[in-house]
């Protein structure tokens, strides 16, 4: 091979091909460049908007600033629900690569139970990837110090401060104020997702739930520029969060405490209402629970424990407990008879043996005073005496002539079978029977026997303690309605709704006479056998002010024909419920109170003292205030 050959110019046999191919290579290169230009055109011109938006989304993050929840006070400015800043351990979900490693790290910082672990796992699953998930709340000082010192070893664990709801009075106000709970994924499908972005709690019961809109506050926003690792570089704009509105309730914490202590360990409820305003001064349901446990993240375990307890502490007996009204229904029925014009104050019925029979029926309806030996008669009974002696026989006669629908229409005006409260969460309507009601609910007609049970408050009728207190308020106001309400004032405007028109069909003199009769229940004493007011012996002998009231004793089980009620023979949960409502002072009432004590025994003996104790306390306050 020669040198010359090695340096040959491009062989002539190739040259033509070479030229073609070099030119085609230039064409192909141009086509490639044009393809890239076309792609640039697509990205930068055609789809520019989309990518510009994406770039802005990348760069700008809107952080939400949760508002502090509004505070709740009682009428004297005692705090019922407040906020507390607590240090907590948290983690941002997307920074968790491995939950087990995280748990190991957490356990090296603080004690961490298996319950807390399962709760954390669940929250991690539910959370959005950029959400902060709380690992452990309420670090104490020691835990906080350990966490702060060692946290840097585990970059993803954060020490943050959280605003937590706090109920300083614990069990005392839980059935009024209710509580908040952590917002769950399911909640967010119902709630406004924008408003609740960044808010961790929502009212679950009581005032917290009813006034959620007022208490929640307005969320704030902060637009910040972030880099790819999510670090905030600068703040572009901020709209501050607006604290939730402060609420002041009619509730009087001292009175609430008295009512609570008056019930003691018994199951039951007390509701006290200011008849001038309808403001609820006390609302107690026992047993109660500490609402703070629902805030702190142990909700699952604690809820299970509370909800499976036989005495149902979570159940609000004051607003949802339904009880037969017993004899407390009698004064209302008396008014119904007067309104219907079938009775007057002079009409008397003869009660020789404490027994009543419907025409053509052998079944014997008995007075509470009935006894086997046939000496249970109360003699001549007029309307006035039927009240202070609580005569069943009088009302059997009334029930035999007034049809149930007339009663039902009249009783409807008093709030039976309705929720008349303005702002009490989940208050029950109770039951007011009628022919229609029986048809719909029992698929049967109304029988005269149903009326016999109805007139002594033992039939289908059921009332809540709140309804009973409302009826006391109506008596106190001589028929004028003030619907029960918790709210005294709100920082943000609230529209509660209208009052009802006064009870129709009863003359003013009838109101006064009936109130005299109710006063006799408490104050009529030293009159001899079968002549004293039923509650006089138990509360009326030393009462320093004028009080009106009516007791009721509701049977839980039917007593067989011819048998006497013997409390000793019955298991505790089949004993009678004790009921009483009252108000004072009679001529210018400032307080109306009702109580129900489950399986508590006779209303006059057991329920009346509770009412008196509450009224005593309130009257003492008024006397003390007016003395100053």
């Amino acid at each position: 091979m020669s040198t010359k050959r090695a340096y040959d110019p491009i062989p002539s046999t190739l040259s033509k091909t070479v030229v073609y191919r070099a030119s085609s290579a230039a064409v192909v290169a141009t086509v490639f460049i044009l393809l890239l230009v076309a792609r640039l055109f697509q990205l930068q011109i055609v789809e520019h908007e989309r990518y510009a938006t994406h770039a802005a989304d990348n760069r700008l993050t809107t952080q939400t600033i949760p508002p502090p929840r509004g505070l709740v006070f009682d009428r004297h400015g005692n705090i019922l629900a407040s906020n507390r800043i607590v240090p907590s351990l948290a983690v941002i979900k997307e920074n968790v690569d491995d939950v087990d490693t995280l748990l190991m790290n957490v356990r090296s910082l603080v004690d961490f139970s298996a319950t807390e672990e399962s709760s954390l796992r669940k929250h991690l699953e539910d959370a959005d990837s950029d959400a902060k998930v709380i690992i452990k709340r309420h670090l104490n000082d020691e835990q906080l110090a350990i966490a702060a010192v060692n946290r840097h070893q585990f970059g993803n664990i954060l020490v943050i401060t959280e605003i937590l709801r706090e109920y300083p009075l614990k069990e005392l106000t839980s059935h009024v104020v209710g509580s908040v709970r952590q917002v769950t994924k399911e909640d967010l499908q119902q709630l406004d997702p924008v408003r609740y972005r960044g808010t961790k709690f929502v009212g679950r019961r009581g005032v917290e739930k009813f006034y959620e809109d007022v208490l929640h506050g307005d969320i704030g926003h902060r637009q910040v520029e972030v880099n790819a690792s999510g670090r905030v570089l600068s703040q572009i704009s901020e709209q501050k969060a607006k604290r939730g509105g402060t609420l002041t309730l009619h509730l009087d914490i001292e009175l609430q405490r008295v009512a609570d202590e008056a019930l003691g360990d018994r199951r039951g409820a007390v509701v006290a209402i200011d008849p001038k305003t309808g403001g609820v001064l006390a609302l107690v349901s026992k047993p109660s629970y500490d609402p703070n446990v629902f805030v702190t993240g142990l909700e699952g375990k604690e809820f299970d424990r509370l909800s499976t307890r036989a005495d149902a502490p979570l159940f609000n007996r004051a607003t949802q407990g339904k009880y037969p009204p017993g004899s407390t229904i009698k004064p209302v029925l008396g008014m119904a008879g007067l309104a219907a014009g079938v009775i007057d104050w002079e009409l008397e019925f003869e009660d020789p043996k404490g027994e009543f029979q419907l025409p053509g029926n052998t079944y014997i309806y008995r007075d509470w005073n009935w006894s086997k030996n046939g000496t249970g008669g109360q003699g001549q009974v007029d309307l006035f005496r039927s009240i202070y002696r609580s005569s069943n026989i009088y009302y059997f006669h009334l029930g035999a002539v007034v049809d149930i629908d007339t009663f039902a229409t009249f009783l409807g005006q008093w709030g039976y079978g309705r929720n008349t409260s303005l702002d009490i969460q989940d208050a029950d309507v109770g039951i007011l029977p009628s022919t229609t009601w029986k048809k719909e609910n029992k698929d049967d007609s109304w029988y005269p026997g149903d009326s016999m049970n109805f007139v002594i408050g033992q039939g289908f009728t059921l009332v809540t303690p709140l309804q009973l207190a409302t009826i006391a308020t109506i008596f106190a106001n001589r028929g004028k309605w003030v619907r029960p309400r918790l709210l005294l004032s709100s920082e943000r405007p609230v529209d509660l709704g209208q009052n009802f028109p006064p009870v129709q069909g009863v003359a003013e003199s009838d109101w006064e006479r009936m109130i005299e009769a109710l006063t006799a229940v408490v104050h009529r004493g030293h009159k001899g056998y079968l002549q004293n007011g039923l509650a006089w012996f138990h509360i009326g002998m030393d009462i320093p002010y004028q009080m009106a009231g009516k007791s009721g004793t509701a049977q839980v089980v039917a007593i067989p024909q011819g048998e006497e009620y013997d409390e000793e023979l019955l298991p505790e949960d089949q004993r009678k419920h004790a009921l009483f409502f009252g108000f004072a002072p009679v001529h210018d009432p400032v307080i109306a109170v009702a109580t129900v004590i489950e399986n508590g025994g006779g209303g006059s003996e057991f329920a009346a003292p509770v009412v008196r104790r509450v009224i005593d306390s309130f009257m003492a306050d008024i006397v003390a205030t007016s003395d100053e």
Partner: protein, 380 residues
């Protein structure tokens, strides 16, 4: 076949440069101007991409200055010098590639760098853009551009050895560009088209085998992700999504120099190296991207033109080879950033931050200038 070479070598020894200095200094003003324009533009963009960091920019300027020196030096050497030294350069590159395989430094899952004492670390695979055209040109010239069956086998071995080593690093992008580059060289030199058909058939047959048995899992995922980057937005698809976002958000005229949010807030990875055209797209827009691509096309055209003016086969083959491989880097890099090809990790020649690429690219330009413009060698 080497006696001719031996005969020339004594003379060539005394004429290491083509003629003496000042007399026949070889230069192509068009290519140099385009290259300088590109470098200047690249430095401005790089200043932004580096977050207005002067020391980084200074480093790169030094490298580019060195590269320019290499260009000028390489362009003054005789064709015969390259012809004579081609096998040695090739052997040296192979040696370095073996060294990478054994002592190389790993970064981001592949072993591409060599960190020799006393030298800045560099990527030996970058030398292949010079040594591979040289060896192919040399071999073809020694065969007088008439290939027999044995020659194909020899060529496959000559090309296969270094590309195989690059492939193993793994640097699939570079390996692919080199293979296609050699194929285009052979096409340009007039290889019969049926051989390409045979090659294509081989690729089609071997592709599934390579996919299943040669590719590693992460690489298969890279390719799958290319076609559906949203599949894994935080990991594999992140680069592509963010680079497309950067480019797309730039629009017609861009957000302004230093104003790119994608690059300056770290959303865009490798903004100053492999993804620098995304910074250009974001900050300067469509207009300047097109200008940049046009500049590359002009350089390509100029180099191709110069190659066709070479008066010997060796010069033509080496010149076109260097041109095609250079252009391959440009196309693959830009297509990668724009989401048309998988993210394979290649720099944009003369603009991306980095020494090996800048210096070897300019040295390659110098070699191309030398082998295509030194006509006196042909008259021997």
């Amino acid at each position: 076949m080497n006696e001719g070479l031996g005969g020339r070598s004594t003379r060539a020894h005394h004429h290491f440069f083509s003629g003496s200095y000042g007399q026949t200094f070889k230069f192509d003003y068009v290519l140099i101007t385009l290259t300088l324009l590109l470098i200047a533009f690249g430095l401005v963009v790089l200043y932004s991409a580096l977050g207005q960091n002067w020391s980084g920019l200074f480093n790169q300027a030094i490298r580019l200055f060195l590269g320019l020196g290499c260009l000028l030096f390489a362009s003054q050497l005789r064709v015969s010098t390259y012809y004579r030294w081609a096998p040695t350069i090739y052997a040296g590159t192979i040696l370095l590639l073996f060294a990478v395989e054994i002592f190389g430094v790993s970064s981001k899952g592949s072993q591409r760098w060599l960190d020799l004492p006393g030298l800045p670390s560099f990527q030996p695979s970058e030398f292949l853009k010079i040594s591979l055209p040289l060896i192919v040109g040399w071999y073809l010239a020694t065969r007088n551009f008439k290939l027999k069956s044995f020659d194909y086998l020899a060529l496959i071995l000559i090309v296969g050895l270094p590309t195989g080593l690059v492939f193993l690093q793994p640097d699939y992008g570079t390996a692919l560009i080199l293979l296609i580059g050699v194929a285009v060289m052979l096409f340009l030199v007039g290889l019969r088209l049926r051989w390409f058909a045979v090659g294509l058939a081989l690729v089609v047959v071997s592709a599934p085998i390579i996919w299943n048995f040669v590719f590693r899992k992460y690489h298969r995922e890279r390719i799958i992700t290319l076609f559906n980057p949203e599949r894994d937005p935080l990991n594999a698809g992140w680069n592509i999504i963010q680079s497309k976002t950067a480019v797309g958000s730039g629009g017609l005229t861009g957000k302004g120099l230093f104003e790119g949010t994608q690059s300056h807030l770290d959303f865009l990875p490798e903004g100053h190296t492999d993804f620098i055209i995304a910074v250009i797209g974001e900050e300067l827009g469509f207009v300047w991207c097109v200008a940049l691509l046009s500049c590359y096309l002009l350089i390509f055209s100029r180099l191709m033109y110069l190659s066709t003016t070479a008066t010997n086969g060796f010069g033509y083959v080496v010149g076109t080879g260097i041109t095609v491989i250079f252009f391959g880097y440009v196309i693959v890099n830009v297509a990668m950033v724009l989401g048309l090809l998988p993210v394979v990790g290649l720099p944009l020649p003369l603009v991306s931050y980095g020494g090996s690429s800048a210096i070897t690219t300019m040295a390659a330009f110098g070699v191309a200038l030398a082998v295509c413009t030194h006509k006196q060698d042909l008259e021997k």
